[in-house]
Symmetry: C2
Subunit: 464 residues, 2 copies
């Protein structure tokens, strides 16, 4: 990766609207996602937002607002903002550039060589593009894991999204790099009115040694932060870990204090039975992000053992992973695939119901980011992360059950209006915080340089 | 099913545009889908259509047209119209009304009781809605299998789509019903300027006895038609057939002359090794439609053995099945799931490539409908079934590879303009042959009656 900074912030100069103090969404239906049991659709509600917080969700007409920004929600369904619980947002720059290859080829021949080309400004542009795509898709919060995290934080601050950002760390980077990730956490955790949180980001047990895992766990406990880490990504990694050192990747996390500090684990397709008691010990502070599109695309089997994890009390959330594998940052697509693949995985069509799937993508994601007290449901006291969806399209009609339509029929393009922390980021399909056309021109100009891997460099070699 | 006909054609009175004799799509990129090998994107082409046939695909500017309808294709990618190789179009009426249930519950408690409520007019309205959704999604041809086929044919004729329609037959319906399906074929095959073709439609080997299968095979051979049938839908059906009568469902098709007549087989997840030589004997006239979303949703495993089928020379195509299971008629979603699930099924991420997947959904579908000489590719001499897609959206950018974007990033909502048989059915997002808002009002008024299963009737009992 080039250390060169050609910093020319893209969204600078673009007018940033002031946060609205009071917001009224009038007459929408509201998806209620309870902590347990069936989701339900509340008809014809007004949602009142004050200073970024949901103040009331009440039958329409009961709210009297004279100074609020009013959004006409009639005919729309308000759902809690979706949470993308694991991604590498700037990898949208490599979307579609690594198809039909093995996992090893994906890392060693394509992605890790391309990533060695990335400048801080590339990362900023990529993160902005990712934020634009996620806002358009109704994703209001994401857990990121990448290089140049300060430039991702800038993009999040500028676009108005919510993110938990983990600075990616490999032991091959050395001690100074480790300290820099901790310094980033100290500097930016809680930034942008609390929309930005930071987790520490050891890449994986196969790229970070035990000493560094312990050091980062200690830092996390000291700072009151969580860790976000890839582990047991597939069964072969678990088998390789058992062969090399006699313990599973999850036991590595247990022994190095990662689980004790609180961890968001990406993938976990290789979590095996002996791992479940270890995870259960720390269930309340552990979550696993399931990103099925990339597992299928990389021909992996088995998938994340979601039923076993939920049975132990561990949190489960929905992620896309980076767009170099997933191609989109579309959490509708991801949650649909969680429902479909998990039904098949346990051979039970009555499981991973529509309500449970919607819960994973909202409350489950909130918990995975450590934000379960702030987001994940449209209830008084929660931060106002609200997505207005239009289910009147031909592909959703007749609308027997809006919940089923959200899981099995709706598309990201059905999202009309997006509010994060009480601020409107997209209104009736128009992005308000990103200059999309200028951004796309800027991104296109970066592509040829990023794709050039003739230099033979790579950020790391994959050999788990 | 009620025999009552409350025929009030919905699209009657709605102005039907005259087919354009000459059409010029200027300056678009064109996806070339060869019979073998990599697809490629031809830059900046003019497509000239005369009397429904593609006359030329040439570098832009070379076509001089003075009297043609001209579509500005600049910035758009023309792809061959997608083919939905297996559906039950009127089941859009039951979209989302049968979630999180077993296969048995789906048939016996939900779908077959609801279907007993359907009137011919319901079927017409449902087929119109399905056609509207498919046009919007860039699906230009579909293989249907349902009751009241004449009303589906009417909807196809009215909306301008292309369809192969199989009238569903159960032996429980009796000899007169069998003769009626043959009479329908004789009356409507080749209708609507050849856009409507008919296949005979025995439902499945477990609902149609061998005598009727033989009779329908004989009729098919006599009339030069194909058969469209569900068979070996999942492994349990194959096992049940072996247990009950000692032979697999595919051998039943072989012994009753169905394969000899030429068959489109829906699903085939239960096709086993001993079936492959039987299929190979008739490979040139046999195709299997793979509809993975419903297999996952119904928790089936294994899936259609696509690699084995292609190795025997059998055609493979992409379908959605009915929307009571698939929820949409979106072939983009279906083809993506074919790529993802087939990579996983054979544990080979380098297989079912982007090019192969696009070929299955276009040329593969054309062959499944017996239309390989008419549709499936944008080449001179082929009927003009053309879809203009817009890959400039944030979720497709940067556009490293348009082919990968089509398979892994694009959405049905990226379809802008749809041409079937040289006639423009949707222009820049506006449907030209369906009065969508009137149709949706009509459909909504039918819902309560269709969902009422308190009568205890069903069209059939599921016990394969």
């Amino acid at each position: 990766m080039s250390g060169m900074s050609d910093r020319t912030p893209l969204s600078a100069g673009f007018p940033t609207p002031e946060p609205t103090r009071r917001l009224l969404i009038r007459g929408c239906d509201v998806l209620r996602v309870p902590a347990e049991g069936e989701c339900e659709v509340l008809r014809a509600r007004d949602i009142v937002v004050a200073d970024g917080v949901i103040e009331a969700v009440s039958p329409t007409g009961s709210a009297t607002e004279t100074e609020a920004d009013v959004i006409d929600g009639r005919g729309l369904l308000a759902v809690p903002g979706l949470v993308n619980a694991h991604t590498h947002s700037p990898m949208v720059l490599m979307r579609g550039a690594a198809e039909d290859v093995t996992v090893e080829g994906w890392f060693n021949d394509r992605v890790w060589p391309m990533e060695s080309n990335l400048t801080p400004d590339d990362v900023h542009a990529g993160a902005l593009l990712a934020c634009a795509e996620m806002i358009r898709s109704g994703v209001t919060a994401f857990a990121d894991h990448y290089f140049f995290p300060e430039r991702i934080a800038d993009a999040v601050a500028e676009t108005g999204l919510r993110a938990d950002i983990a600075p990616t760390y490999f032991s091959s980077r050395g001690q100074k790099a480790l300290e820099e990730t901790v310094a980033f956490a100290e500097a930016r955790h809680g930034d942008a009115d609390g929309r930005i949180t930071v987790s520490l980001g050891p890449h994986a047990p196969y790229t970070v040694d035990d000493k560094d895992l312990r050091a980062l766990s200690d830092h996390a406990r000291r700072l009151g932060l969580r860790l976000h880490i890839h582990a047991a990504e597939h069964l072969e990694q678990t088998e390789s870990s058992l062969q090399r050192r006699g313990i599973t990747p999850i036991r590595v996390l247990h022994e190095t204090g990662v689980l004790d500090a609180g961890a968001l684990i990406a993938h976990g397709c290789g979590i095996v039975e002996q791992d479940l008691p270890l995870l259960a010990e720390h269930a309340a502070t552990t979550a696993v992000a399931c990103c099925p599109k990339v597992y299928l695309k990389h021909a992996l089997s088995p998938l994340t053992p979601v039923r076993d994890l939920l049975d132990t009390g561990v949190g489960v959330a929905v992620g896309t992973d980076g767009a170099a594998g997933h191609n989109t940052l579309d959490v509708w697509e991801a949650l649909r695939l969680v429902a479909l693949t998990q039904k098949q995985a346990v051979r039970d069509a009555t499981w991973m119901t529509v309500s449970d799937t919607l819960r994973l993508a909202t409350r489950g994601g909130a918990r995975a980011l450590g934000l379960q007290d702030r987001i994940g449901a449209l209830e008084p006291g929660m931060r106002a992360d609200i997505v207005l969806t239009d289910l009147t399209g031909t592909h959703c009609r007749p609308l027997h059950d809006a919940r089923a339509a959200l899981v099995y029929s709706a598309r990201a393009s059905d999202v009309r209006t997006v509010v994060v922390d009480g601020r409107v980021l997209m209104r009736d399909g128009r992005l308000l915080t990103v200059d999309e056309s200028a951004l796309l021109v800027d991104v296109d100009a970066r592509v040829a340089r990023i794709l050039d891997t003739s230099h033979g460099r790579a950020v790391q070699h994959y050999d788990p």
